[in-house]
């Protein structure tokens, strides 16, 4: 039982790291990035390619994942989302076009990774880090689990605090409410958008590397599955709310683990979809979402 709770918390932390950046970008600069899953996978994959050549310790691997994720995300923002937002006639059209663009771009890293790995799962067997498990009698916890938990809750707390207390955080929230007025108040929308995308990509890269260590290996297609889970976590908690995405990720992981333990697990994929659908019907703003300020 305690073991299941710990596993659920670890899974929830991985969902959280992944969903945090997506929720931030969607709730503030209005970008729902469908290529987030591909960035996540490709950051982990790049780390895999490098660790096959040189044996690297885990801090370098994590740094690598974060950097690759952030770089891809910024590249995506500059090459795709910025031109779309600049040209689109209205907010709704831009949203749709960003979604479709993301779906299209997501195919590219996936195709490259599938081509190189031949769709075989990849891992970090070449690295110098080894997963050790500590047996505490009633519970078994690995060092990678501890690292994931600390990273997820620490970063979620940090970002939540930054949004609330720091001046750029306030500016970012202002863009989320009304980007035109925020720009008039002297907010540099472009710079903050790039920063948000970099943070989102970095978090995705971190989640990718940690997941690969945790599971031993991941397949190139893992990104798509994570994307849909992240949606469920975000919708459950409320778009743009940091507390919401923490709760959403944990609740989703908790229910999934519970169903997996008590049944044969064939219904597990349906939980995320069911949660999204029910939540949108009952409470579209999510558990912690503010009343949506609709920009027209």
């Amino acid at each position: 039982m305690a073991q299941d709770v710990l596993n659920a918390l670890t899974l929830g932390s991985l969902y959280l790291l992944f969903a945090l950046g997506m929720s931030l970008a969607w709730g503030t600069i209005g970008i729902l990035n469908f290529a987030h899953g591909s960035i996540f996978m490709f950051a982990a994959f790049t780390a895999h390619l490098i660790v096959q050549e040189v044996s690297l310790p885990i801090p370098v691997m994590i740094l690598l994942g974060v950097l690759v994720g952030a770089a891809l995300s910024v590249l995506l923002q500059v090459l795709a989302f910025e031109p779309i937002q600049r040209r689109a006639v209205d907010h709704r059209k831009a949203e749709l076009q960003i979604l479709v663009g993301g779906i299209g771009i997501a195919i590219i890293p996936l195709a490259i990774a599938q081509r190189i790995t031949k769709s075989v799962p990849f891992g970090y067997s070449g690295g110098s880090f080894s997963v050790t498990t500590y047996d505490l009698g009633f519970i078994r916890v690995s060092n990678i689990q501890l690292l994931t938990l600390v990273a997820a809750f620490g970063l979620a707390g940090l970002i939540g605090w930054w949004l609330r207390a720091a001046r750029p955080g306030l500016a970012l929230r202002a863009i989320g409410v009304d980007s035109e007025v925020a720009t008039m108040m002297g907010v540099d929308r472009r710079r903050l958008a790039l920063l948000t995308m970099a943070v989102a990509g970095g978090l995705a890269g971190l989640a990718g590397v940690l997941l690969t260590y945790y599971l031993g290996s991941i397949a190139p297609e893992t990104g798509d599955a994570f994307l849909l889970k992240a949606f469920a976590a975000i919708i459950l908690g409320g778009v743009g709310s940091i507390a919401g995405v923490v709760v959403g990720a944990m609740v989703l992981a908790g229910i999934e683990t519970f169903v997996l333990v008590t049944t044969d697990g064939s219904w597990t994929p349906a939980i995320a979809f069911g949660l999204i659908f029910l939540m949108l019907l009952v409470r579209p703003n999510g558990l912690f979402g503010r009343q949506e300020v609709r920009r027209t």
């Binding site: 031109p83 059209k93 479709v100 997501a106 081509r115 919708i235 064939s266």
Partner: protein, 318 residues
């Protein structure tokens, strides 16, 4: 011709089926409703047709028809359920509806054949039937894009509030769109499972959403013709791209990305803009001294989206 027809039969069938599937997303999109329920309807149609054919040996038309009716009814109920949602939220809700059906099919036990799906749905449906059905659908949709009804739908897309104030029943248009999308998706799904004689949960997934969406976006989202262009391109692209071998998927992704970012109105939009420019140039030359008013009207063409809101339309112009 005949040998080409026979050797490419599968591709020809899938071109028309993909067109129907793409239309099931394009029809709601034309009314500004961002719904992927058509993908779910595809699943409903595919499984209904297969189950009826295998278990009750009903004729193909009846099996597909039952699926279409069922999906249309479910589409109507879904429209009532998600009436509050719009934009991305509606998209997410309908994607999860469609993917949920996929999991449901995996867990359906004997009825849906579980993870392996159903086999042996043999019927008399042929390529000609598929083409005939698609042509009927396309003619009806093309008709719905013209005249008063077409303008109504355009108004609902461009500005729902304005449409309401002009007396357009926006809620009704949205419901109709859900029903039509359900029927189209189910028709595509039913025909596909009867032609292939099998259906399995793997055929219904996120990739189907991606396929349908890319066809519409690359082709052009505002008309059936765009969906047709997209369906032809993406069904035949793999055959053309055989020369690049394993990088096929990469080329595919690049095409979609470029189209989505830089050509928002799709290939159809490009063709239309080009056609307008050609026409304008053709008119300008004789219009030097004679018909100044024509020149003025034609200059309004780039703002033709405004014309959709009840203003002078292309047909009304000289």
């Amino acid at each position: 011709m005949n040998t080409w027809w026979l050797s490419n039969q599968i591709l020809i069938q899938s071109t028309f089926i993909s067109l129907l599937l793409a239309l099931s997303i394009q029809v709601p999109l034309r009314a500004g409703v961002f719904s992927f329920a058509g993908i779910g309807s595809y699943a409903i149609g595919a499984y209904t047709a297969a189950i009826l054919t295998i278990r009750y040996q009903v004729p193909g038309i009846v099996a597909i028809g039952a699926g279409v009716l069922l999906a249309a009814a479910i589409g109507y109920l879904l429209a009532l359920l998600v009436a509050r949602l719009s934009g991305l939220y509606l998209g997410m809700a309908t994607i999860s509806f469609a993917l949920f059906l996929g999991v449901l099919a995996t867990n359906g036990g004997d009825l849906t054949g579980g993870a392996t799906g159903l086999f042996g749905a043999i019927s008399t449906v042929t390529t000609e039937h598929v083409i005939a059905a698609t042509v009927v659908v396309v003619v009806l949709l093309a008709a719905s894009e013209r005249g008063a009804f077409g303008r109504k739908v355009d108004a609902v897309r461009e500005d729902p509030q304005l449409a309401v104030s002009l007396g357009v029943d926006v809620i009704r248009v949205r419901r109709v769109v859900f029903v039509v999308s359900g029927a189209l998706g189910a028709c595509a799904g039913g025909m596909n499972s009867l032609l292939r004689t099998t259906v399995s949960p793997e055929t219904i997934g996120f990739h189907l959403v991606v396929t349908a969406l890319t066809m519409i976006i690359v082709g052009g989202a505002l008309s059936w013709a765009g969906a047709a262009i997209g369906a032809v391109i993406f069904t035949w692209l793999p055959t053309v791209l055989q020369s690049v071998g394993e990088w096929q998927l990469l080329v595919y992704g690049l095409l979609v990305a470029i189209a989505a970012v830089y050509v928002p109105n799709g290939l159809l939009g490009l063709l239309q803009t080009g056609w307008r420019r050609l026409r304008r140039r053709g008119r300008r030359i004789p219009a030097e001294g004679a018909a100044a008013p024509t020149g003025v009207v034609v200059q309004e063409d780039p703002e033709s989206e405004l014309a959709a809101l009840g203003g002078p339309t292309t047909e009304a112009r000289p």
